[in-house]
Amino acid sequence: MYISKMKNKKSQTEIMGLVIVVILITLALLFVLSFIVLRKPTTLKKQYTQSEIAANTLNALLETTTPCNKQKVRELLQDCAANAPGTIYCEGLYSCAYVESIINEIFNKTLISWNMEFEFTATLTNITIARGYCAGEKRSQSQFIPTDVGVMTTRLDICG
């Protein structure tokens, strides 16, 4: 009687062990599966568009001709850096304020409307335009503009 009870108890313990092993294997499978299925989709397009946007936006922006005596954004930035708040006066604004309003307008119609986070800076001027907090991964493009007071670095970071 005693031996039979002991045997029963032993097999129950074995089955319990088996159940635990099955549960552990199932949990491991679910864990791996969730990693594979729920993994973020490819970032290829994001990487491409961000680097392309950073490079092209800055190049096109600096070459853009403004209605202010056909001055380019680059030339207005040069004037702003050398003679802040600027010697060129257009539509009631000096070059620093005028060029900042133009850059803002272009960013509103492009990067902001595409819901992108970015930071634009132009050294030797106080111009910094940003949306969001650019702390982590980012794609950057810089351009160097000679001015009377040194070399100005314009930089556009696309965050994400």
Binding site: L29, L44, A60, T66, K70
Partner: protein
């Protein structure tokens, strides 16, 4: 006997779990590969359009990147409006919609190309599966006025 049946049952249960697991992984991998292929195709089209000689600016024998000549663009619009030319440019644009939008100083749009897959022709936009949208900022050069404006090349690839 009961013990053997229980063990066999658990064994088959494990095999079943394994099969389900394997098929899920295969499906997920295939879907991801398909998605990546479509993205690569969209990027290829975007690259081809960005450096398209029919539209690129020419300044003193230079070909500045990210610059589109407005006069070339207007001529190209007339050329591609003809059906046989549209077929010729299919190898570049494939099934996509390409248009250029001037965003500064004033808004203006040039439609360049729009070719939907045959199964979607004539159907309302809601029936067409989502498109991959790639915006490429460009400088638009007007050689007559000698001014540059800010534009965006919109490439929507039908997937």
């Amino acid at each position: 006997m009961t013990e053997s049946i229980a063990i066999l049952f658990i064994f088959f249960l494990l095999v079943l779990f394994g099969l389900i697991f394997y098929s899920r992984i295969q499906t997920a991998t295939l879907e991801r590969e398909q998605e990546e292929d479509k993205t690569i195709k969209a990027i290829q089209i975007a690259q081809k359009v960005s450096y398209f000689p029919e539209l690129q600016c020419t300044t003193q024998a230079e070909l500045p990147s990210g610059c589109i000549d407005i006069k070339k663009l207007e001529s190209f619009q007339e050329i591609i409006a003809q059906e046989q030319n549209k077929l010729y440019y299919f190898q570049v644009f494939e099934y996509s919609q390409v248009h250029i939008e001037q965003v500064y100083p004033e808004n203006k749009t040039w439609e360049i190309y729009d070719l939907r897959k045959p199964e979607y022709i004539g159907k309302p936009l809601t029936f067409i599966p989502p498109k991959l949208f790639i915006p490429v900022p460009v400088a638009l050069h007007d050689p007559v006025e000698n001014i540059m404006t800010f534009g965006v090349l919109h490439i929507n690839v039908y997937i």
